[in-house]
Symmetry: C3
C-alpha cells in the first residue's frame, strides 16, 4: 500500500509545505520509528524535540509547529494533527479490501425473521436471532451474537465475540432457591457505536438496555440489564456496569472501573481506571479510587495500619483533647 502526499492532501485537506506532492508514502509511523518513506504526526508540543531526530518524509503538524516542522523538512499543516492522523488511518485502511465482504457470510446464522440491512456485513459464524435489526453499513466481525429483538444502529462495528442481548442477571429468592426473572426487554444500540471483543451487553428485564449514538466500548466490558449509556461516552476494557446504572453523555470510564447499579453519573464525568463508583455523581470531574501500589513489604505494614485507621483517628482526637487540657485551650 502506498499514497503520494498529493493524494493525501487532496483527500483530507491541510496545507502541504516544504515538499513534493509526488513523494511516495508507504507507512504511517510514530516520529521515533519513522523512516524516509513514512508520514508521521506531532500533536503534542512536548514531543517537538523528537521532530529534529525523526527520519519521517513528512510530518503532520499544527500551525504553531509549522516553523519547527519546516526546519525538519516536509510537513502538512492542519488545525488538529491528531484528528488528521485518524482520518489518514481511515484513508489508508480504505485502500485494502474489508476482511469480509458486505452481506451475510455463508457460515453466519441469521434468523429468517431478523432484519439485516443489505449494506451491513455479518461476518463468519455470527448469530442474529429472531426480530433483531442490524442497521446500514454496520459490521459484525465474527462469532458475534445479537439476541432476539435487539436493535443495532447504523455504521456500528461489533468486534469478535460480542454478545448483545444475553439475559440480564435477575432472580427472585424464595426459601433459599432462585426463581428466574425472564428478561423481557431487549437492547437498543444507536448509530456509530463500536463494541470491543467479547464484550457483553445484557437485555433489559422489562424495558430495554440503551447505548446511545457514538458510544465507544472496549473489550471484555460487562453492561448489565437496563443500563443507559449517554451519547459519545467511551468505556475502556474490563469495565463492569451494574444493572440500571445511568451513565451520562461524553463521559470517560477508565479500564477495569466498576459502577454500581441504580445510580446516575453526570454528563462529562471521568472515572479513573480500576475505580469503583458506589454512589451517584452529580458534578462532572475526574474521580479516582485506586489503591496505591507499593512493594509487598511496605504494603503489609500499611494495610495492617489501615485496618486500625478508625482507631488511629480516635487516638488523635484523644491526644488533641489531652494537649488542649495541658495548654489551657478549649
Amino acid at each position: 500500500m502506498s499514497l503520494r502526499l498529493g493524494q493525501i492532501v487532496d483527500a483530507l485537506g491541510g496545507s502541504l509545505e516544504g515538499g513534493d506532492r509526488d513523494t511516495v508514502i508507504v507507512r504511517i509511523a510514530p516520529l521515533e520509528t519513522a523512516d524516509a518513506s513514512s508520514i508521521s504526526f506531532l500533536h503534542n508540543p512536548r514531543y517537538v524535540t523528537q521532530l529534529a531526530h525523526s527520519k519521517a518524509a513528512c510530518v503532520i503538524v499544527a500551525e504553531t509547529m509549522r516553523e519547527a516542522a519546516l526546519a525538519h523538512g516536509t510537513c502538512i499543516v492542519t488545525p488538529d494533527p491528531y484528528v488528521y492522523f485518524a482520518r489518514l488511518t481511515q484513508l489508508w485502511q480504505a485502500q485494502q479490501p474489508a476482511a469480509w465482504p458486505v452481506g451475510i457470510h455463508h457460515s453466519a446464522i441469521v434468523h429468517p425473521q431478523a432484519q439485516v440491512d443489505p449494506t451491513a456485513t455479518i461476518g463468519p459464524q455470527c448469530v442474529v436471532e429472531r426480530g433483531a435489526v442490524i442497521g446500514a453499513h454496520t459490521v459484525l466481525r465474527s462469532h458475534v451474537h445479537v439476541g432476539e429483538r435487539c436493535r443495532i444502529g447504523q455504521r456500528c462495528l461489533l468486534h469478535p465475540g460480542v454478545v448483545v442481548g444475553a439475559d440480564g442477571f435477575g432472580f427472585a429468592k424464595q426459601a433459599g432457591r432462585w426463581h428466574k426473572i425472564e428478561q423481557l426487554g431487549a437492547v437498543a444500540i444507536g448509530d456509530d457505536v463500536e463494541i470491543g471483543a467479547n464484550t457483553c451487553i445484557d437485555r433489559g428485564a422489562l424495558d430495554d438496555t440503551v447505548v446511545a449514538d457514538g458510544v465507544k466500548i472496549d473489550n471484555l466490558v460487562q453492561i448489565a440489564h437496563n443500563v443507559r449509556i449517554g451519547a459519545h461516552t467511551v468505556i475502556a476494557g474490563n469495565t463492569g456496569i451494574a444493572g440500571s446504572a445511568r451513565i451520562g453523555a461524553h463521559c470517560s470510564i477508565g479500564g477495569a472501573a466498576n459502577i454500581l447499579g441504580h445510580l446516575e453519573i453526570a454528563d462529562g464525568t471521568s472515572i479513573s481506571p480500576t475505580s469503583m463508583v458506589t454512589r451517584s455523581i452529580h458534578k462532572p470531574d475526574l474521580y479516582t479510587g485506586i489503591f496505591p501500589l507499593q512493594t509487598n513489604t511496605e504494603w503489609e505494614k500499611n494495610a495492617a495500619s489501615f485496618k486500625q485507621l478508625y482507631q488511629l483517628r480516635e487516638r488523635i482526637k484523644k491526644l488533641e483533647k489531652a494537649l488542649d487540657a495541658l495548654t489551657g485551650d478549649k
Copy 2:
C-alpha cells in the same frame, strides 16, 4: 402477547381483588412507567407512594399492602409479590417460541461420543466435545463450548460464548521455562445452573471443578481449576475465583470481586462488589474491601498519606508516650 388477569391467577395463584378477570394485560412494567394495560408489582413497602401515581391496570402486592392497592384499583394479593412477578415473567416468556427449537442446531458441532439429552437445546455454533454430557431440558444458546468429559446437569441455561472445560492454568517452572501441567480433570455442573455470557469455567488439574445445583453465575466470570461452588450461590459479573477455592452454599459474590485460591468461604457469606478475598472466611457476614471514590484531587492527597500510614501510626504512638511523660501517666 397478552394475558387476561383471570389467566394469570389461574396459572400462578394469588387472589384477584377489586377488578375483572377479563381485563387484558399486554405488558409487565414497573409502577412508574406502567400504563392502563400493564400489570405491575410492589414488593418493597418503601415504594408504596409510587402506587398512588401508577397507571397500572393491576398491581401485585402482599397482604400488608392490600388496602393501599385496593384504594388504587385492581390488585393480586400473594405472599411474595417479587417471586410472583418472577413467575409471571416466566408465564409471559412461555407464550413465545424459544429462540431455537429443542434439539441440535445444524451448525452446532457435537462429537459423536458426546451424550446430549433429546430434550436439550444445542444452539447455533455450539461445540460439545467427546464424552461431554448435556442433561435434560438444558439450553446452550450460541457459541458455547463444552469440553471433553464435562457434565452439565438438567434445566441449565448457558448463555452465548460460555466456555466450560478449557484447561486450568497450571505450569511447573524449570530454569525459567514453564512445563504445562495437562489438566486431566473435568467440570461437573449440577442442575438448574445458569451461566452468563462469555463466562469461563476451567477443568480441574486432577479432580473436577464442581458447580453445585442452583448456582447462578453472571457474565464474564472466571472460575479456575478445582474450584468448588456450593448450591444456590450467586456470582455477579466480572468476578474471578482462583484455583481450588471452595465457596460455600447460599453465598452472594458481588460483581468484579476476586477470591484467591486454596481458601474456603463459609456458607451464607456475602462479598461486596470489587472486594478481594485474601483469606478464608469462616464466619458468614457481609465482607467489604472497596477503595473509597473521591475527586482525583482529594485522592492524590489521601493516597500519598496512605503510603505513610504505618509511619503515621508510629508518630501517634510517639505522641502518646510524650504526652504520658508530660502528664505523669504510664
Copy 3:
C-alpha cells in the same frame, strides 16, 4: 487409561525404588485422595506428614524425601518432583486422542490467503483471516478468531473464544465526537505461548502488539494495542494491560491485576492479584496494592476515616508542633 511404573520411568527418567515396574497406575492424584492404583507426588517438604497417611501406590519425591518415601512404600526419585509431575500429566494426556485431529475442522473458516502449517490444528468454528499465519503444531481449540495479518508461532495453544487481532481502542476527539483511528498494526505471538479462554489481544495502531516466546496467559485477559510482553512471563485471569505497556520477561502478573498504558515493568517483577500498576517499575520485586477485606461494619468506619487521611496527617503534624513547644524541643 493406565501406565505401568516401568513405562513411566522409561519415558520420563527418575529412579524407581522400593517397588515393582509392573505395578499398574490408573490415576494421578494428590497425596490425600490417592488410592492404591494412584501415583502421587510430594514437592513441598511441608506436606511430608501427608505421606504417612497416603494410600498412593507410588510417590514422586526429591532425593531429600527418599527415606520418608521408602518408609511409606514405592517411590520415584527425581531432582524436581513438580516438573516430573507436569511431564507425567503430559505422558498421560498423550495416551488419549486429541479433542480434534490435526488439520482444519470442516466448520472452521480459514481465508484462502491465510497460511496454516499442515501440522497445526484449527478446531471447530475458528476463524482465521486473510494474511494470518499459524505455526507448526499450534492448536486453536474452538471459536478462536485470528485477525488479518496476525502471526501465531509454533506449539502454541489458544483456548476457546480467544480473539487475536481485534482493533485496538483508538479514537481522536473532535468537537465531542470520536474519529476512529484505524488499527494498521497486527499481533505477533511467539512460540510455546498458551492463551486462555475468551482472552483478547488487540492489534497495534501502527506497529504490532508483541507476545514473546513461552508466555502463558490465563482466561479473560485484555491485552491492548502495542503492548509488549517479554518471554516466559505468566499472566493470570481477568488481568488488563493498557495500551503500549511493556512488560518484561519472566514476570508474574496476578489475577485481575491492571497495568496502565505507556509504562515499563522490569524483567522478573511480580504483581499481586488485583493490584493496579500506575507507574513504571524499574526494580524487580513483589508489588502489591490490595484493599484489605473487612466485615462491612468495620470497613464503613475505616473507609470514612480514609477520606480524611490527609487531614489526620495534618492534625498529627500540629500535635507534634504543640508538644515540641511544650517540651522545649525544636
